[in-house]
């Protein structure tokens, strides 16, 4: 009995099959040795990247399930793509149950790490840096999971992305927490995704801090059920350096947290300071579109218990001087375009959340018809859900992913 109990414990803790660890050192032939290890790995294996700088000439890719790629630390193990000649990203992951941790990518020519259709993925202590600072010639996304269910991005650092530092697109069941996103166009972007938790991140010196977008014409739409909670979103005042044509090229310098379209976004208990256009912006998708499946309006948006400090004092919007004069030198913390559901607010001590309502007459017609006016957001009055109402999943990644953070 004792023996069988011990065997059960051993079996339970044993990885599937006979998992192996493959150690890869930097130096000559690193491209081939590392790529070969990524190809020949068996499910459950770990690829250990030793400390040092790996000079890489091409993008890497992983297509084996259940593999861990682990470095000696985000400052110790650096995959250097400065000399990259091909591929659209530094590392492409297309298999499920992959863990990426404790290494860095520098200067990938396109995106940093893209994981596509890669369910149950963990990014932990990954750094992606474009070392020249904010430049339009930098790659678009630093950490880029897309079309995936089960995504955990934790304790990562991304800077210099010419689109979004951490971008989660067309995915579900997502947690993005304890990350540093600095000097990107968008710090963190959740796009066309559902059931996402964005919490305890430090988001600074970007053009826009945290974006929650839903865009038309994509295979996956209907973004929503996103919680943006307990983040520090400060000093996002970098001029927009996105290449024109991209949706984030339209983000105004100095936007803290921005919601475009989406159904159900909670912006709660964040600290926002020195975001000179707007601490929080809630708008409809601004362009004309032709997609009957798409709802361009923001619905069910809650802005509660946030700590609003300085902001809205140098907005990048037309009529800035007149608006600043009208509002006594700084716009209220929330800017709403007047389309979709009026956001609900809840401030400390029963106070109202103050907003600027642009009062746009309709979606897709530009800012021409704006009739700006102050607005105190109506308070959220909690009510029981109607009988038979669908219960939304709790936003966030499956807890099984956290077990890998050891």
């Amino acid at each position: 009995m004792r023996y069988s109990g011990l065997a059960a414990v051993l079996l339970a803790s044993a990885p599937p099959l006979a998992a192996e660890t493959h150690i890869i050192a930097p130096g000559d032939g690193a491209q081939e040795r590392l790529q070969e290890a990524l190809i020949l790995a068996q499910p459950g294996d770990t690829i250990m990247l030793e400390a040092g700088r790996f000079a890489l000439s091409d993008g890497l890719s992983l297509d084996v399930e259940g593999v861990t790629v682990r470095g000696a630390g985000m400052d110790a193990t650096v995959l250097d793509f400065t000399g990259q000649q091909g591929a659209g990203e530094g590392l492409l992951v297309t298999s499920d149950n992959v863990t990426l941790r404790d290494f860095a990518l520098e200067n990938p020519k396109g995106d940093g790490i893209k994981s596509k259709g890669a369910d149950m993925i963990v990014y932990y202590r990954i750094r992606v840096t474009w070392t020249g600072g904010p430049l339009a010639t930098n790659g678009a996304y630093g950490i880029y999971p897309v079309e995936s269910t089960g995504v955990l991005v934790e304790s990562c650092e991304v800077s210099g992305a010419s689109d979004a530092g951490i971008y989660v697109g067309q995915s579900r069941a997502i947690t993005v927490r304890y990350n540093l996103a600095a000097d990107n166009v968008a710090g963190i972007e959740i796009e066309n995704s559902r059931d996402a938790l964005v919490t305890h991140n430090l988001v600074t010196r970007n053009t826009g801090g945290i974006l929650v977008f839903d865009l038309p014409g994509l295979p996956v739409m209907g973004g929503g059920n996103v919680d943006v909670i307990n983040n520090t979103v400060v000093g996002n005042d970098t001029p927009n350096f996105a290449p024109p044509g991209n949706i984030v090229a339209g983000v105004r310098r100095g936007t803290g947290i921005m919601v475009m379209a989406n159904d159900g976004v909670k912006i709660v208990a964040n600290r926002l300071d020195r975001n000179p256009t707007a601490q929080v912006m809630v708008i409809a998708y601004p362009q004309p579109f032709d997609d009957p499946r798409y709802n361009p309006l923001p619905r069910d948006i809650l802005i509660a218990d946030n700590q609003f400090e300085r902001g809205g004092d140098d907005p990048q919007i037309d009529g800035k001087d007149a608006l600043l004069a009208a509002f006594g030198g700084a716009l209220p913390p929330v800017l709403w375009d007047g389309l979709g559901d009026m956001p609900l607010g809840l401030a400390k001590f029963g106070r109202k959340v103050q907003a600027l309502n642009l009062n746009l007459p309709k979606q897709g017609a530009g800012l021409g018809g704006a009739r700006p006016e102050p607005l105190a957001l109506p308070a959220l009055v909690p009510t029981p859900p109607p009988p038979g109402a669908a219960v939304l999943p709790k936003p966030g990644a499956p807890t099984a992913l956290e077990a890998r953070l050891k």
């Binding site: 491209q31 190809i39 297509d63 659209g88 020519k109 010419s162 024109p244």
Partner: protein, 339 residues
């Protein structure tokens, strides 16, 4: 077993005299086990697809074929073959991909230079195993006597027929799958009935190597017409063959929402007035994948005309620009009506 041995002994006794006098009568058969076993053969010669590898003379049941509109790969000459095991045949499936029996293989050799100067660079094989297709790249040696498995791909400096000095990239095994995948399974791309000539299909059917010539076969235009032929079918065929393996639902670039398949007729899915999603600097400052009438303001033409990583499309399999392909696609966009 005993009976089999007995028959073999009898055969040897009867034909023994003839065999002892014969030199090379029967060419070496293709190695079926190398195709179907769960291994990664180290050398291309292990498959015995060729009687003469350097000359690319195929073995028995290795059928050469050509495509009406081919995938462009830095101007490489491509020698394409289909191997069918004895007693099997291809099955037509409408205008789409031919259906291959397990044990079949598709072989494509990439070469630069003409006549005696021709240099074989790489041979890519697709092996149809019981559990699916496996894609492997082989790199030819300097002596051109054989090609070695190149799991991690590689780079070779060469000058293209157009005169561009490039670092030619042999794809690694994963990159093979990047293009050859749909819904996460490896599949062939090229041999679709619509992109094969009716004459070849008829000959294959007559030889018993294909069950029938399907409706819709051969409808893609012959790329040789590209300088002056009608732009729409040429451009649509080019995009189908060069781009749509990723840019389709279930393909490697499905998240872009761009669908460049021949059969797609939704204008937005084809990129017309479609805004970029994750193009980054690949957008080149333009607002739409295709702006009708304005190739200079269309992201599609901009990315095709680039050879810079992070901008260039396709992302894999090209290090230089296909000026013929760009010209046809630009002509198609220029002739396009706004509605």
């Amino acid at each position: 077993m005993r009976r089999g041995l007995g028959l073999l002994a009898l055969a040897c006794a009867v034909f023994g005299g003839a065999l002892s006098h014969a030199t090379v009568i029967e060419p070496e058969p293709v190695n079926d086990a190398a195709i179907t076993a769960a291994t990664l053969p180290k050398a291309l010669s292990e498959f015995a697809f060729f009687q003469d590898g350097r000359a690319q003379h195929p073995a028995a049941r290795v059928h050469p074929y050509a495509l009406n509109t081919p995938l462009w790969s830095d101007g490489a000459d491509k020698l394409r073959f289909i191997y069918l095991p004895e007693g099997t045949q291809l099955a037509a499936d409408g205008e789409g991909l031919l259906r291959f029996p397990v044990g079949a293989a598709i072989i494509k050799t990439f070469a630069f230079g003409d006549g005696p100067d021709r240099r074989l660079i790489e041979t890519r094989v697709l092996l149809h195993r019981a559990d699916g297709w496996v894609a492997l790249p082989y790199r030819w040696n300097a002596e051109q006597s054989d090609a070695a498995l190149a799991l991690t791909g590689g780079r070779i400096d060469l000058v293209t027929p157009a005169g561009a000095a490039i670092s030619y990239a042999i794809p690694n095994k994963n990159q093979c799958k990047t293009c050859h995948s749909k819904d996460d399974a490896v599949i062939p791309i090229g041999p679709k009935a619509r992109n094969l000539s009716l004459a070849w299909l008829a000959q294959m059917a007559a030889d018993g190597a294909l069950d029938r010539v399907p409706q819709g076969a051969g409808q893609l235009p012959d790329w040789a017409a590209h300088p002056s032929g009608p732009a729409t079918p040429l451009a649509r065929a080019y995009l189908d063959v060069n781009c749509a393996h990723c840019h389709q639902p279930g393909g490697g670039a499905s998240n872009s929402g761009l669908d460049l398949r021949w059969e797609q007729d939704d204008r937005h899915a084809l990129g017309i007035m479609k805004r970029p999603v994750a193009a980054g600097r690949g957008a080149g400052g333009h607002d739409f994948a295709i702006l009708p009438g304005q190739p200079d303001a269309s992201i599609l033409a901009y990315r095709m005309a680039s050879s810079e990583a992070g901008i260039a499309m396709p992302e894999l399999g090209k290090a230089s620009v296909d000026s013929d392909g760009v010209a046809v696609v630009r002509r198609w966009i220029a002739e396009m009506d706004a509605q």
